[in-house]
């Protein structure tokens, strides 16, 4: 499975609509990817759905520009839920609770960052400049998915926004920091993956015995802090 593609379009005022995903889920969303305002609205809608504690709601999953609400179709009143989702979409302000600020130390390049040189070539700049550009931004956690604790963050500086590798790696190491177009993220576990790997994070995004187990939540704001830069 691949992460959503990015079109960079849409705005917080884009048309939100409600649709069914099979008989056991409803979604509310709009056409926009990697738009912080749209995503902030999705995070806020998800918070309101959870807070409402409606009968028959089994799970609430915000993604880039949508919220999927899993229901038991024999318990939930999906017509009423659909109306409420429409109302929430019309009225929700981008999140009332601001995201937490997190800083993640990164060892750029070296054995954990085999694609740092390729990204520098793509950007026509030095390794240090790739690192500087990656670490300069404050990233929003748009959503989690792919693996437990895997956070899709953006928006990556256009200059270093190298697309995914043509052929995904069979095994990306845990804690590898990757770039895929205008998204960046940290692999929580060894997994197949096509992102351009530029370094190794000091933090484990998912630890079963961690408190909490998943470090990132949708809406968090993340900075990367270079600890070292090595040629790959």
């Amino acid at each position: 499975m691949t992460p959503p593609e990015i079109d960079g379009g849409g705005s917080a005022a884009a048309a939100w609509r409600v649709w069914r995903c099979g008989d056991a889920a409803l979604a509310v969303g709009c056409d926009a990817e990697l738009n912080p305002d749209v995503n902030a609205k999705a995070v806020e809608i998800a918070r309101q759905v959870r807070a409402a504690g409606l009968a028959g709601v089994r799970d609430v999953v915000p993604t880039h520009s949508a919220v999927t609400v899993y229901v038991d179709p024999l318990v939930a009143d999906t017509a009423a839920l659909s109306d409420r989702l429409r109302r929430w979409a019309a009225s929700a302000e981008p999140e009332t609770l601001p995201g937490r600020e997190l800083t993640v130390g990164v060892r750029y390049g070296g054995p954990g960052g085999p694609d740092l040189g390729a990204v520098a070539a793509f950007a026509e700049c030095s390794l240090d400049e790739v690192v500087q550009r990656h670490a300069a931004a404050r990233y929003r956690v748009f959503m989690l998915g792919f693996l437990p604790g895997f956070a899709y963050m953006g928006v990556v500086d256009r200059r270093i926004a190298m697309p995914r590798r043509q052929t995904p790696r069979v095994a990306v190491p845990a804690r590898a920091v990757g770039i895929a177009g205008r998204q960046t993220g940290i692999y929580p576990a060894v997994a197949p993956g096509g992102w351009q790997l530029i370094g190794t994070a000091e933090l484990e995004p998912f630890r079963l015995d961690g408190e909490p187990a998943c470090v990132f939540r949708p809406g968090d704001l993340v900075r990367f802090e270079p600890r070292s830069v090595e040629a790959p």
Partner: protein
């Protein structure tokens, strides 16, 4: 009371109704592929529906029970042996201390559920005892059972009634099944003539995450299309290759591929009883039909719970 794994079978895992409420953190739902048969087996031994069972895939384990108890096997039909005697599927059976349950040939379906009075007692991870094979947690160390494993059994409620029999919640497929789907609004409608009324075959790498189907290519002129959102069980995803994937219990929480249709809840258990090499056909239905089919299945299982002996 302990259950010792004498032989594990090719893919036997601890499952329950799944790990709900954590998908926003990327944590998959997992759980029994066929929750209907899982629940039916639990009912037979007097367990609540959320008690953990063993999901047996295509070939069965041999299990030894340290104390006298009641067990039941629901779902796929196997030739069973209890303490060396042929025993029926879908019936609560008494076992003496040290008694063994052995699985023989599979005669219908693909996945059976072994319930024991009291349920398999393992730590809950994110609220569930289900095995997440991809992330290696839940169940027994997040992996399929192995020879020599020991599983704890919880305290039985005392409601087990040996001899009690249930009918399967739906006819078990033999070689293939028609699955009803709801169409995804805004999907590329040009796909539907190639999706409906056509036979697809489950590929050899089909597993608990998803069934890889081959048949008419669903490659689309608009491969990016649709809105990206979370991925419920039963979602039919179409990657750029055009070979669809039917997402099952261990699916990832989100996906970016077009998803023209979703199998209805009432037919997920039927899908779970398909094996690699089996055929599948998809047929569109309405939301009202999907809900009515689900209500009918629930009524059947509730009626059997109250009435069957």
């Amino acid at each position: 009371m302990m259950v010792r794994v004498v032989a594990p079978g090719p893919m036997t895992t601890v499952q329950d109704l799944g790990r709900w409420g954590h998908q926003a953190l990327g944590i998959p739902v997992s759980g029994a592929m066929d929750t209907w048969s899982h629940r039916a087996a639990n009912q037979l031994v007097g367990n609540p529906p959320e008690a953990a069972t063993l999901e047996v895939t295509l070939a069965g384990p041999t299990l030894e029970f340290s104390a006298g108890t009641t067990i039941a096997v629901g779902g796929a039909r196997f030739l069973l042996e209890v303490e060396g005697q042929a025993a029926p599927s879908g019936r609560a059976v008494s076992l003496s201390p040290g008694g063994r349950l052995a699985f023989g040939a599979l005669t219908a379906g693909a996945r059976a559920y072994v319930a024991v009075a009291g349920g398999f007692e393992l730590p809950r991870v994110f609220g569930s005892r289900s095995t997440d094979l991809a992330s290696h947690f839940g169940g027994l160390e997040g992996r399929p059972l192995r020879t020599g494993d020991s599983l704890n059994v919880g305290v039985a409620s005392g409601a087990a009634r040996p001899g009690r029999k249930l009918r399967p919640p739906f006819p078990l497929p033999r070689g293939g099944a028609v699955l009803r789907v709801l169409c995804q609004p805004e999907a590329d409608a040009s796909l539907y003539p190639r999706l409906f009324g056509q036979r697809f075959q489950l590929g050899p790498t089909s597993n608990r995450m998803g069934y890889r189907l081959s048949g008419p290519s669903l490659a689309s002129a608009d491969p990016a299309g649709g809105l990206s959102a979370a991925t419920p069980v039963g979602t039919i995803q179409v990657p750029p290759s055009g070979d669809p994937i039917l997402l099952m219990a261990d699916r990832q929480t989100t996906g970016g591929y077009p998803a023209p249709a979703t199998v209805i809840s009432a037919d997920i258990g039927v899908a779970a009883q398909l094996a690699p090499g089996d055929w599948v056909e998809f047929a569109p239905c309405s939301y009202a039909d999907a809900r009515a089919a689900l209500a009918a299945r629930e009524d059947a299982i509730r009626h059997q719970m109250n009435g069957a002996v």
